[in-house]
Symmetry: C2
Subunit: 514 residues, 2 copies
């Protein structure tokens, strides 16, 4: 055999060996950040933002586009101008409402082993949500569709570092709009057993979501009313506006005692002031107004304070993510949420158009900003690209690696006589090595983090295997993960009941386009 | 013209426009981290590591391979075993020596505008050092050589976010060994005017370096003796061993009142215990032994505590970087250095074989660990690849972007009436936008970070320009930066004196191979 052939055979063999290896995932476990949150503003500075928000709510108010919501606010003492639809709130109303928000609650999953705690120093990582497009490096970029939506749910189920789901990743736009929410929810329930998400796109859709979640978890209405079983995200139309689908979502989710994450869409320089302080004052005012509505409807209903403040590129108007401004906003958002004792949501975001080095470093910057700020819910944790316009399979895996690193970083070091290892150091002595030391042999299998994606081989080994970079390795990993996917168990009676519900609601016309 | 031709012309035009744009660098300014350091261990836990280190030094000791160094230690009261060459230190000796280390000093550059402060919350970012190979994505990987060494110095000079130099990046192995240190130092002096670095590879080389630095800065010997004008790094041969070149370096640099960064090479599981606590106790013991030598030779001479603890992959023995263990070690290293009030060095490191997403996220993890741990000197700040075996041009630019983001993140937010922007929010009102607001127009030009490398355009614009990913953009940027490089002014008399010195020393045979 020629030397070159032998090398090629050997390279293929190594590659196959590598592919036979287990995919190295950390076990399922909700991470808890044991370190103090990073607080980059003083308590006085946080108070200044808080007071500015209260002045905005008192003096300017929020335009509330749903009459029912204006009535609810008015009933609680807010000052409603029916001409401009603007609602002004005195600080007593806002602070009274915020006093009933639960600081911590359990978000129940279909599989109780996948329940997560929202609040305190707990963190839960969610997939990308709301992306209209989807891509992988082989098939390229394409509009969101049901097949890719389903495959990304399979990945979300398979990745232990994904703790909860999020909105469409990507949106299955090949499913007719009137039934899309139900078809998508059915797939989410069937393909995953982690905690669910439902969009709040109209009152009817929210009610359909609530009923499907009740069926999925096999609950009585009374028990659903006691247990937070899914969540939605409501983005305000910044500045200072809440539209009808958002308000329906807040109202109906609160009535059902389910979770709303109120997330103002405050991009500094566009929908928010060009200063971070101003953008955060606006974010805080809008979040308080939205959260107050839920508490007025049902005091004690579960909420999450969503921070999404970033900035736009002032030359193009394009949104930017993972910037210094984003890091600061994510950390300050956490300070504000803690001021009100509300669980906090932030995101792993980037503005790259490819799952490349930019997507990785902007993502890493976002993750550090979010998690050092004690984010409880990290939405878009895996798979987001292009400022949210695309869900990327390779980015799913790149992000999973970064989040696994953070989850391991959150495991506190043990410092005691055994770990300080003075006896092992004495035995090995100057100039020795620890490879064969009993102290090492007792611990080496679980001593260190084992990566899912990173390749630590020598350049020569890596080159002999084809010089496969991280993005192409991520491609192989997600394909293998899909091939190895196993659907979670689902009681046939529940599947049948869900099917019957969807059939009935489809016959009724689903949810009309509005 | 055909539609396709027009599109191509338009794409080329946009590309040229993009290339004509300024390279967006932040201005030269030494960053200062205004936020509290992240302390993941309690004061008691740090004390446990400290006490374990003192026990290691008292009971086991360090093998000191240079007789002169053993004599110096013995003169200060250490217990020397000439048979095993092991030196044991009682804690009084170590703590007494550490008491004279300056907590903060100025590292002077040839250009005084490029002086940096070492200590406190100041940070300085250095290039990669010590890489035997070099690569770019067009020409591939090749042995280190003088042309690439010189080009990387030009990049170091051009990048404002690089504050100080480091060792060979890459090593110019085409320059004969006896004169390599002088030829390399001359190029460093000629091509850059930032604070210099010199390897400590033998006594003669250290003395040559000191003299060349004195000439470069145009100092009298007395003034050189007062001003820290360059630094070296001494890596211990872990575990618990210091070889002759390292000891010469510590001794001669201390005599000249120049800076040594003592950095134990404690890879957990190989040259250090498999537990992070044990690896850090060993790191700390070795650092204390090395730093004590400098203080015995010359109390008050400037030092930097170097942390380099990471772990190896226990299946292959390959070093790993940017891992959860690395992040923790970098942060705990900072806690230990602050315990002794010594400036702290850490690194931006990764184990990737390409300037890809892995190199970016492992680098980002390292940077966050290092900088939240209040690293004063970040070596390998730009350009490191392959666990240090290769200096990468594209990684230079990727890292520069990440460090620019961190430097901007370190600029504290101003929270006052003007930035809280209540009047602007009132003027814009619900549903408006801030693009044209006077509050925005007054501030938009400098409001946000402008990236060097990140591309925030829409997918469609990006695709029309050829879908150039971050690594390929980095390639273009470094080439353009080299094309636009301008050498810093150098007094011809100094250049002549340096030339004469090198000629004389070359005639004498340079520094013999040892």
């Amino acid at each position: 055999m020629e030397r070159r052939d032998r090398a090629a055979v050997s390279a293929r063999r190594r590659e196959h060996q590598a592919e036979r290896r287990e995919l190295n995932q950390i076990p399922w476990r909700q991470p808890r950040n044991p370190y103090a949150p990073t607080e980059i503003l003083s308590a006085d500075q946080i108070e200044s933002i808080h007071l500015a928000s209260l002045r905005i709510l008192e003096e300017i108010g929020v335009r509330i586009l749903l009459p029912e919501a204006r009535e609810i606010y008015a009933g609680a003492g807010a000052d409603v101008d029916e001409g401009t639809q603007q609602v002004r709130f005195d600080r007593g109303l806002i602070l009274g409402a915020m006093a009933t928000v639960p600081p911590e609650f359990t978000l129940h999953a279909r599989n109780p082993a996948h329940d997560v705690i929202m609040g305190g120093s707990w963190a839960a990582f969610a997939t990308v949500g709301g992306a209209p497009s989807v891509s992988d490096i082989e098939r390229g970029r394409r509009p969101g569709n049901f097949a890719d939506y389903s495959d990304m749910l399979r990945l979300a189920q398979s990745l232990n570092v994904v703790h909860v789901l999020a909105g469409y990743a990507p949106e299955p736009i090949d499913v007719p709009v009137p039934v899309r929410h139900m078809v998508a929810m059915e797939a989410m329930i069937r393909l995953t057993d982690k905690a669910y998400f439902g969009f709040s796109l109209s009152r009817q859709r929210v009610l359909d979501n609530i009923e499907m979640i009740r069926i999925a978890r096999g609950l009585t209405p009374a028990r659903l009313d006691r247990e937070a079983s899914f969540y939605t995200v409501v983005n305000t139309n910044s500045p200072l506006q809440l539209d009808r689908p958002m308000l329906w979502g807040i109202i109906e989710m609160a009535r059902a005692n389910q979770v709303t994450c109120v997330t103002p869409f405050t991009l500094a320089g566009a929908m928010a002031p060009v200063t971070l302080a101003g953008a955060l004052a606006l974010q805080n005012a809008e979040a308080l107004a939205g959260m107050a509505l839920a508490q007025i409807v049902r005091p004690g209903s579960p909420l999450i304070y969503g921070g999404f403040t970033s900035n736009v590129d002032m030359r193009s108007g394009a949104p930017a993510f993972g910037t210094p401004e984003y890091i600061k906003a994510a950390q300050i958002g956490g300070q504000l949420a803690r001021r009100y004792r509300v669980p906090y949501r932030s995101s792993n975001v980037n503005a790259s158009n490819a799952p490349d080095a930019q997507s990785a470093y902007e993502g890493a910057m976002s993750i550090w900003g979010a998690l050092t700020g004690h984010t409880n819910l990290l939405i878009h944790g895996v798979g987001w690209l292009e400022g949210g316009l695309c869900a990327s399979y390779e980015k799913f895996i790149i992000d999973a690696e970064m989040l696994q690193i953070m989850a391991k970083y959150f495991e506190p070091e043990v410092i005691d006589d055994a770990t300080l290892a003075i006896e092992a150091i004495r035995e090995v002595g100057p100039g020795g090595h620890f490879f064969g030391s009993p102290h090492t042999l007792e611990r080496y299998e679980t001593a260190f983090y084992t990566p899912l994606l990173s390749d630590w081989r020598s350049f020569q080994q890596w080159e002999a295997d084809g010089s496969v970079d991280a993005t192409r390795r991520a491609h192989r990993i997600y394909q293998r993960m899909l091939a190895e996917y196993e659907a979670p168990a689902l009681d046939p009676a529940i599947a049948e009941e869900l099917g019957a519900f969807i059939a009935k609601r489809t016959e009724e016309g689903g949810a009309p386009i509005q």
